[in-house]
Each structure stands twice: as C-alpha cells, then as structure tokens.
Amino acid sequence: MPLETACLAFAGLSQVARSSARFQHKGSPFWSRGGGATRYSGIALLILSFAVAMWRFGPIKGPVAWTGLLSLSGVVLLLLLSSRPRLALGLTPLALTFALLLCAL
C-alpha cells in the first residue's frame, strides 16, 4: 500500500504543530530554538508528500490522494496529540523512516 504519502504528511503536520504557539513557549518540553526552522521543515515535508503522491498515484489521482491522505494523517495526529502529545510529536522521525523504507520498496 502506498502509505509513504501519509507518513510524510503526518511528519509534516507534526512539525507544523510543534512549531505552533501552543507548543512553542518557555517551559514547554517541545521548545526548540529554531521555531521557524521547525515550521519550514514541516511545510517542506508536506510539499514532499504531495510530490510523492503525484509519483505514486499519477498526475490525476495524485492531488485527490494527497488531499485525502493529508486529512487522514491530520485526524490520526490530532487524536494522538490530544491524549499523548509527546508521543504524537515524537513520532516524526519514525514516520520519516517508515516513509523512506516504503519508497525504497
């Protein structure tokens, strides 16, 4: 199953979430120096997931697949974020690795 799009989207959304005001404040365990860098890396991952979707599903189904998988990753991220934020945000590297593996297969 071409899940890389979803994994990359998850990672991207997770980075964007991490960079949001909710998690970026002094005393937050997610505080990172490069707040902007986190957000941009997230956006970059989202763009990458779009490219991967176009590659996997073709130019016509690609945007449809990307939109759907992006939303779905958002739902998953959101449910995790609301109960286990550390886990949710910490899954980024795992999602990226998974995506890489799937792309290679």
């Binding site: 449809v64 759907g68 609301s82």
Partner: protein, 545 residues
C-alpha cells in the same frame, strides 16, 4: 433569535458586518434541522464504499472464481436470452475484482395499450459469470441496501431523493456558514480538549469538520451533482427540445435504435467485447446495455470501466445489435461535462484502490463524527442541571439518542439477520431490511422510557453488543468464521470481522464515556448586577451554537 445583525462594532470600534453572528445563527439551525438525516446519510454512505464487499459477506455460500470479460458477457447474454428475450433493455454490469457476480437489470417491454398497468420493477438478477446460472445463494439485498438508503432514505420515489437533496443543500450551506463563522480556523487546527464538557464537544466538532474540510465540501457538492438531473433539470429544458438529446451528450453516444418489430437474432457478444478492449488499448468493459434485443433495431452499447480514471462516465462504443456493425463511439467530453463526470467519480470513489478506499471510509466516519458532535454540542451548550428542559431541548436530545446511538444497532441488526434467517426462507431479503428498521426505531422508542443519561449508555452499549455479536454469529452459522478465514487467507471475511470488532470497541468506548460521572465545572456564581472590572478581550471562539 437574537444575535443577528444589529451593526456590531468590534473591540476597536470598527464596524463589523455581522457575518460571523448571522452565519453562526443559520449554521446552528441548518445543522439542527438536517442533522439527523445527515448523520444517517453519512453513516450509510460511508458503509456504501464497501457495497460489493458487504454483498459478498452476506452471501457466504458464493465462491466465484474470476473469469474474463468476454466469458462473463457471453454467459450473461445467454442467460437473458433464456429468461427474457423480448425485454426492452438489458443492463449488464460485468464483474470486476470487487464484485464477483454479474449483475443484470432488465426492463420489460411496456404494454402498447396506454391504459394497461405499468409492468412492475424487476429485481436485480445476480448471475455466476462462469456458468450464467443465477447465483445459488441466500437472497439478500446486500450492500445495495445501505447504498439505496443513503440517497433514497427508504421513502418512495421521488420524495426520498428530494428529502436527501434538501438535507444535502442544508449541509452545503452549513459548511459555508461554518467556515465563515469559525474565527480562528487555522490556529485551532489541532485543539482537542477531552473531558471539558461543552468545550470538548465544540473542539471535536470544529476539528472533525476542519481537518477533513476538503473531503466534506467535496462529498457534499458532488453528492448534489449525482442527482442534478433530478434536482435541476431546467437548464436542459431551456437548451433542448428533447431532454434525451442532452442525456446522449453526457452518456456518450446518440443511440437512435428503435424497436422495429422485426425479429433478428442478436449478434454474438464475445467478438464485440474483444473489439472494444482492443480499441481501448486494454481498457476493461464494465457495462453492456442491450436495447431491443432480438429485434432488427437492436443496439448494444458497451461502457468502459471507470476504475482507473476519475471521470465516472467512461467512454462508450455503440454497435448494431443485429449486425454487430460499429455505429459510433463517444466523443471526448467538453470541460463542463468532464467536470460533472469527475465530480460523480469523486463521490462514488470507484477509482480508488484499497488504500484510497479506506481513506474514503475513514474520512466518511470523520464526517459522521462532525455531524454527530454538532448535534451533541447543541444539547451540551443548553443543558441546565437545575431547570427542567424545555420541549425543544428534550426533543433534540431524544432524537440524538434515537439517531446517533440507535442507527448503528439497526445496521448491525441487518447484518445479523442475514446470518440468523434461514438461507432458503422466502422473502428473507425484505425481512433483513425490516430488521434494520424495527431495531433502529424500536430501540429509539424504547430509549424514551429511560432517563437521558441511562438511555445513552444503554443504547450505545446495545449497539456495541450487536456489532460484537456479528463475528460470533458468523462463526457459528457459517464455515467462514474469523479463524477459518485467516487459515484460508480470506482477507475479505477476516477484515470484515475486524471492522465489526472495531465498531463494537468504538461504540463501547462511547457507552463507557457516557457512563462517566459528569465533571462538576467550577463555576463562580456572580450576582447578576456585578460586571467584570476590566473588559477582557474575548479569546473564545465565536460560539457557533
């Protein structure tokens, strides 16, 4: 009824147009009036993405090996020649990798006497593509039931479709007004707080709506488009003397075939299928429509499968039914017609492979959650512990229970009835359908006898139990139980049981949450006359309910 558009001034004195307030007000009313129907449409529509899989599950006796399109077409036509050679039209849906049987709809020739009664609608015929014999399995509506309910609501034609259409336009307006009224739509993207009562319901409603907003908007608009010929036929009347001409323009070829009354044997279908696949460079035929079979004026129109393209209306090629001569092929459609076809394709989701199909289903459930949380938010906002609820509140609360908690049980009852009714019982297909309605409405009525909180717990619990029962009953009454299916490598039956279990867990979780004692919110009761010393800027979301 207040909160409309007295020219409101913002915190800095700028004139606000009042769009947020007016849209908040109408959003609530649209959601409330259409919410219960929309919940049912979303839930059954989501299930319909597995229409053929549900049908296969409901006929466990059937074990059909795939055959070529040529073979399937030949056996289907041979079968129809045996049972209804003089019908007006045979519509043959060739099997594919998800629907293993050949499905045939046929229309009898109308009596030339205008005063004679119209022939009754013929039921769907399911045929084994390998042999052409009717599928020897228990009679059932299968996944068709949820699919039909989704846009007809079990109400006689045309009222059911009109009601569904009304709900859909309400949904469209609710989406637009919801977006306008949602103040901090991006900032709150990831906000979901549990256990905070009304806050939580608002979060859940906002989030389920916004995170899958492209899907919800797409599904709603494309849903209206699926029945646009019924909802908005007027432009056709303004441009065409005969509406049928427009239909030809959309569906492909102008079919001028007429019933001539002269008998002529139907040309063999096999070579036509082969020609068509060749012309489409390997594209699969999906539908064969034979008009006026065994007549000199017979025509055969073959439509291409839409499983590999977004446009649901695939290419078609028209042949003469008596000679086999190729008459015409559909022209590539213009932008507007292609757009309509793509919209139809997006709604139906036939193009979706396994991953995208599951995505559709999960997003559909998110949509169901959006509607459900909206309905529950309405009551959560207005619940007053100390005051007896006003009639409207009680009505909404009871309708909520009756829909959100009882409809799932009804759908499970439909599946359970399939396993529990004897396979050779006459009329069992209708009894299965009746089981859904008796269970759904019966439980809804029963819930009226319980106090609200207990009703939620009981009905959600019963729904959970009914889904849990499905894999168990399946294991007892068939040889395709969970473990047997795993051993056999039968992915469909095994994953079906898993989905039933997941539904049971989800509903059980709901029942458990409903049973938790309500959190006592710490409210500082201020005497009415007092005003807050400093006018704090309001950080809340505009209350959309």
């Amino acid at each position: 009824m207040t909160g409309k558009t007295e020219n409101a001034r913002g915190a800095n004195g700028e004139a606000k147009s009042g769009w947020r307030q007016s849209m908040a007000w109408i959003h609530t009313w649209l959601g409330l009036l259409a919410g219960w129907i929309l919940f049912a449409m979303f839930l059954t529509g989501t299930a319909s993405y597995f229409r053929p899989e549900i049908t296969r599950w409901m006929q466990p006796e059937v074990d059909i090996a795939p055959v070529s399109a040529v073979h399937a077409a030949m056996t289907a036509v041979a079968h129809m020649q045996k049972i209804a050679p003089q019908d007006e039209q045979w519509t043959i849906f060739l099997p594919d990798d998800r629907t293993t049987t050949t499905r045939i709809f046929t229309r009898a020739r109308p009596d030339p006497d205008p005063k004679a009664a119209k022939p009754p609608r013929r039921p769907e015929i399911r045929v084994d593509p390998a042999t052409g014999d009717p599928v020897a399995a228990r009679e059932t509506k299968g996944g068709e039931h949820f699919y039909r309910f989704h846009f007809q609501l079990q109400i006689p034609h045309p009222w059911g479709r009109w009601l569904a259409g009304l709900a859909a336009i309400f949904m469209l307006a609710a989406i637009i007004s919801g977006v306008i009224t949602h103040k901090r739509i991006f900032v709150d993207f990831f906000t979901l707080r549990w256990g905070k009562g009304q806050r939580s319901w608002l979060d859940a409603h906002n989030v389920s709506a916004v995170i899958a907003l492209p899907f919800h908007a797409m599904i709603t608009y494309t849903g209206l488009i699926t029945l646009v010929a019924m909802y908005m036929p007027w432009p056709v009347a303004a441009n065409y003397q005969k509406p049928a001409t427009f239909a030809d323009a959309i569906y492909g070829v102008q079919d001028d075939g007429k019933y001539l009354g002269r008998r002529a044997p139907l040309t063999p279908i096999g070579p036509l299928i082969e020609r068509v696949s060749h012309e489409w460079h390997g594209g699969r035929p999906a539908t064969v429509i034979v008009r006026n079979p065994n007549d000199a004026g017979a025509t055969i129109q073959i439509a291409r499968s839409n499983a590999d393209t977004l446009n649901a209306r695939g290419q078609t090629i028209l042949f003469s039914g008596s000679s086999g001569r190729r008459i015409a092929a559909s022209q590539p459609p213009g932008v507007a017609i292609e757009t309509a076809g793509v919209m139809l394709g997006l709604h139906m989701g036939n193009f979706a492979g396994p991953l995208l199909r599951w995505t559709y289903v999960l997003l559909g459930m998110t949509g169901t959650a959006m509607v459900g949380t909206g309905l529950l938010l309405w009551t959560a906002k207005r619940r007053r512990e100390d005051v007896k609820p006003f009639f409207g509140f009680a009505l909404v609360e009871r309708l909520n229970i009756g829909t959100v908690a009882c409809l799932p049980a009804g759908m499970a009852a439909f599946l359970l009835a399939n396993r529990l009714l004897p396979a050779d019982l006459a009329g069992r297909a209708d009894i299965e359908v009746a089981a859904m309605y008796w269970t759904w409405f019966g439980l809804a009525l029963l819930s009226l006898a319980l106090p609200v909180r207990r009703a939620w717990i009981a009905m959600l619990g019963l729904s959970a139990a009914s889904f849990l029962a499905i894999p168990i009953v399946n294991m007892i009454t068939t040889d395709r139980g969970f473990f047997a299916s795993i051993a056999r490598g039968d992915l469909l039956f095994a994953s079906f049981d898993m989905v039933m279990l997941s539904m049971a867990v989800l509903l059980g979780f709901g029942a458990w949450r409903a049973a938790q004692p309500p959190k006592q919110a710490k409210r500082v009761r201020k005497p009415r006359a007092a005003k807050p010393p400093i006018q704090m800027p309001v950080r809340e979301l505009t209350d959309a309910a």
